[in-house]
Amino acid sequence: MKFDFTDEQYALRDAARELFEKESSPARLRELWGGGARDARLWRAMGEMGLLGLMIPEQFGGMGGDEVDLVLVLEESGRAALPEPVIETVAIAGPMIAAGGSDDQKQEWLPRLASGDAKVTVQVEASPFVVDADIADALLIEKDAALHLVPSTHFDAAAIQTEDPSRRLFTVTAKLSDATRLGGGLFSQMFLRGAWATAAVLNGIAMRLLEMTVAHVKSRQQFGRPVGSFQAVKHKLASAAVLIESSRSCTWYAAYALAKDLPDAPVAISAAKAYASEAEGYINTEALQCHAGIGFTWEHDLHFWLKRGRALEQAYGSARHHRAILAHHVFDELDRGSER
């Protein structure tokens, strides 16, 4: 029994954090928010560090790892509010193509995904929008209970204006054919993988919001004492800490269940996404309340995480959506009389 990560996994997490702090600092993010162009260097550096190939088999240039290897990196991408399609390309497309692609599809895509030479974005039926569709080399799309992998030559993208300019959304029209089909039996996995990875990213966002808020209330003085010494503030942040840490446990287990292909993986994922959305939602509200005035300024970095957080709470199924799935499971279990 070891519900913990290996030294190697922690080392990779630290390396990712260092890279993101350097290449995707709040100052860099602010340039994007101001209309600046994305720097291709970051994605390439992620490829070189092996982050992009974490879940791609070794024979295709990846690390042959699993969701447990990836989950801390996903948290870090949330902590950094990374403006890159990590969920779609790394957590969804890579493993889906590896699992269901034809030999040709694997040969064509997996090595490029691992190196960072290609990005794949994703459309699930639950959302009309697709991230980074203009720069994606391919689109993985759910349609009529089948999956398709559509090269960029076969779909058009129209930009949608979003509140978070570092999260770029599009609507797409894609030409699907038998040639674009990806192996069967994986249909529901795409949404589930997205939900799981989004939970991990939300946990990272929540961690960052809590960190920023703790730092703020420690230094901010009112009535001659730090704001963080008031019990009302302390209790809110303590509640947030409890939610965030237990949410991480929940998402880590979902990673493990996915990696080991355990039968309760779908339930674990719905629980993780429902819980992570609520946990992040709580600190999202309280972080701004505790920052008060200064948090409402464009010049303060807080809003990068506030907006990304609110968007991801809804992505790949809101808490409400996943709770309905869980309730279905509870009554199902009741019918089968299997509580053990």
């Binding site: 009112q222 309340q289 968007a311």
Partner: protein, 386 residues
């Protein structure tokens, strides 16, 4: 118990409604943050003044209508329902004017009241500072006597209309030796004074609306102090008392918000989701409770009572309801919640987001929910200070 309006009040409502119907611009005015918007808003205020709707609660001797709180509330309700422009004269008419009537000298009243009414002078309020938010008495802006003027140095923040206003009334520390609440004076400052710089604050929704105001050796005439020197805290308490005892936000606002939420739910195809309906039902109940509680407090004001610490209860009610309503809206929007373009089910997605973020500020401005709860606990329930 009689919650109906008098014939006079009903007549007033019809008068207001008719006038607004005839005069409210069909197109929304450009934002008051822009130069053309500022001018348009000032023109609108002048029209209101000419129509007899400026300072309706001011005594007749000062050019007002002498309307009571009920008529004032009727006016605000009709104003909201007519979709009329924001009023940049608010701070002058609701705070500075009434404060002057209590603490101003005859000369000061002569100097300023008329301009407030006619919207020739738009006022802003300089209370908050970067290190004095909830803790107002922690303010640091200093005024030092130098011949015929107070020389002011320091910084104010969250000044509504600060970038464009003609005047600001500010709290400044005139006796640095005195403890926190003492040694503060209340002073009126012409924004054109040399040494004053106002920088708009860009908010997290990308808009402006507030400003930081920097004072660098700004010289202000001695006669601009309202009330006694070093007695500004008491004057400020009068000002805040007017803010506190004003009729509450129009309840119609919150019923409209709930209807807007229902409209979003319908546009998103989740009208029949019972979980969404449960939220809508709860928010409607909240809006009803606010409505009736606001009417009850209005009735108390109309009968000559002051709300005192109980005003904090109304603030907690509307601010938290506002936040809950917009947060529910975001959930109802689902994947459309982050969208600013026409795909959004909101009529005006950019305005929707501005309202959303402003709803999150509601539990902060005019006293945070935490401060309000302290007041309620200590001064309504009599619990001991912590």
């Amino acid at each position: 118990m009689d919650i109906s309006y008098s014939p006079e009040q009903i007549a007033f409502r019809h008068e207001v409604r008719a006038w607004l119907r005839a005069n409210v611009p069909e197109q929304r005015l450009p934002s008051s943050d822009t130069p053309e918007g500022w001018d348009a808003h000032r023109e609108w205020e002048q029209k209101l003044f000419e129509g007899g709707f400026a300072g309706i609660h001011w005594p007749r001797e000062y050019g007002g209508r002498g309307a009571g709180v009920v008529m004032q509330a009727i006016f605000e309700e009709e104003y909201l329902l007519a979709g009329a422009p924001e009023r940049i004269s608010q701070i002058g008419q609701n705070l500075m004017g009434p404060t002057l009537m209590v603490h101003g000298t005859e000369m000061q009243k002569q100097q300023w009241l008329r301009g407030i009414l006619s919207a020739e002078d738009i006022w802003s309020q300089g209370f908050s500072e970067p290190d004095a938010g909830s803790d107002l008495a922690g303010l640091r802006t200093r005024a030092v006597l130098d011949g015929d003027a107070w020389v002011i140095n320091g910084q104010k923040i969250w000044t509504s209309y600060g970038a464009n206003a003609d005047w600001i009334f500010a709290l400044v520390r005139t006796d640095p030796e005195s403890p926190r609440h003492a040694g503060i004076s209340f002073i009126a400052v012409d924004m054109k004074t040399e040494g004053i710089e106002a920088r708009p604050i860009r908010q997290l929704d990308g808009r402006a609306g507030f400003a930081e105001v920097f004072f660098t050796d700004a010289r202000v005439p001695l006669a601009n102090v309202i009330g006694d020197v070093n007695a500004g805290w008491q004057v400020a308490m009068t000002t805040l008392g007017f803010e506190r005892d004003a009729p509450s936000k129009p309840w119609a606002r919150y019923r409209r918000d709930v209807a807007e939420l229902a409209r979003l739910a319908r546009a998103r195809g989740v009208e029949n989701d019972p979980v969404v309906r449960d939220w809508i039902g709860a928010l409607f109940a909240d809006a009803e409770a606010y409505r009736h509680h606001a009417t009850r407090t209005l009735s108390r004001l109309a009968n000559g009572e002051s709300l005192g610490p109980e005003a904090s209860m109304t603030k907690v009610l509307w601010s938290e309801m506002e936040r809950r309503t917009y947060e529910a809206g975001l959930d109802v929007m689902g994947p459309y919640g982050e969208v600013l373009s026409t795909e959004s089910p909101a009529d005006d997605p950019s305005l929707w987001h501005t309202l959303y973020w402003f709803s999150r500020a509601a539990t902060i401005y005019a006293g945070t929910s935490e401060i309000q709860r302290n007041i309620i606990a200590e001064r309504v329930l009599g619990l001991p200070k912590g």
